[in-house]
Amino acid sequence: MSLSDWLANRWILVHEASPAEIADLFALVDRDLEDAAVPRLSADWRLGITYNAALQLAMLALAAAGFRPGRERAHERAILSLRETVGTAEATVNLLDSLRRKRNQNNYERAGTTSTAEAKELYEIVTVLREQALKWMKKNHKALIPPGLV
């Protein structure tokens, strides 16, 4: 299903991104990835922060493509849209989608469900995702990239 189908279903809405917005979102991604690397934080929080970085990457790619998520299931659809924007592999998108639920569980239901190994693995995946997103931006939306990242 393409983004135009998503638009027809109102899963996403038309949105005009500005360079300032993209710069802010990249800054959030980099802040989160930096914080997620702090070893004394719990694995639960590290996974949650890393997931947030992935979510912001999905939002910025969607914004650069001219859209924002609709009101319902906004986070889920933002993550799934990575397939259509950056061209992220389905296996990675599925993993991020599964961790969206784990992050909710960590935040609101119980502590300790995340291992350090899981947090580290997700961190490595999202670090690669950031590089992929930046490469995609350079190729398709160069005018929106913050000057420091060009």
Partner: protein, 205 residues
């Protein structure tokens, strides 16, 4: 939603514990046959109750009884008129361990998963229509390895599966460090997918 999920314990409403266990095992693995002793062991029910249930299910044509020498085996009967429908109901209400065992089998056979178990409401037998499957996996498998199996199981079960994947060393360390979550899992009700209580005790030491 109009109905409180807490009022609906699907598996229990449909079948008694022993029948549910027998059906989940046999319909979850329809290509295999099981010796009576193995059925007792896997579903942890008394031999009399299991024998009675198997007798009823054989009479109804849902289960096949075959003999080889002095050994008697039981298997699901895929020719039963309601086989597919019953299998779908069992998978959705009681079949989580079997479904996950099938999906994780490649990782179990390579030793990447040394132990896997279900904890939480499904293990306690108090699941509702809205319950997730809480899964703990121990071994060298990564989330990247586990998630495809989890997604496939979710599709078959119609339930979300929440995995926690721990390397054995980290599991042991966190358990000894007193992580309440892991201590609760270890001491609470469990359904083993790979390994058993003895293996868990060994890994926790």
């Amino acid at each position: 939603m109009g109905t409180s999920p807490k009022s609906v314990e699907l598996g229990e409403a449909l079948f008694g514990r022993t029948r549910r266990g027998v059906l989940a095992l046999l319909l979850g693995r329809p290509d295999e046959r099981f010796h009576m002793r193995e059925i007792f062991r896997r579903i942890a029910s008394g031999s009399g109750a299991v024998q009675r249930e198997l007798g009823h299910l054989v009479e109804a044509g849902l289960v096949r009884r075959t003999s080889e020498g002095r050994q008697v085996y039981f298997s699901a009967n895929p020719d039963a008129a309601v086989f597919r429908e019953l299998q779908a109901i069992i998978e959705k209400t009681a079949g989580a361990p079997e479904v996950l065992r099938t999906e994780l089998a490649p990782l179990i056979s390579t030793g990447q998963v040394v132990l896997a178990l279900i904890y939480g409401s499904i293990a306690a037998g108090s699941q509702t229509a809205a319950s997730d499957v809480d899964l703990l996996v121990l071994g060298d498998a990564t989330l990247t390895d586990i998630i495809p199996a989890v997604r496939a199981a979710e599709a078959r079960l119609g339930r979300e599966v929440n995995p926690s994947v721990y390397p054995v060393g980290e599991f042991r360390k966190r358990l000894k460090g007193g992580t309440p979550f892991l201590n609760r899992v270890v001491s609470g009700p469990k359904l083993f997918i790979a390994g058993d209580e003895d293996e868990l005790e060994r890994l926790a030491r």
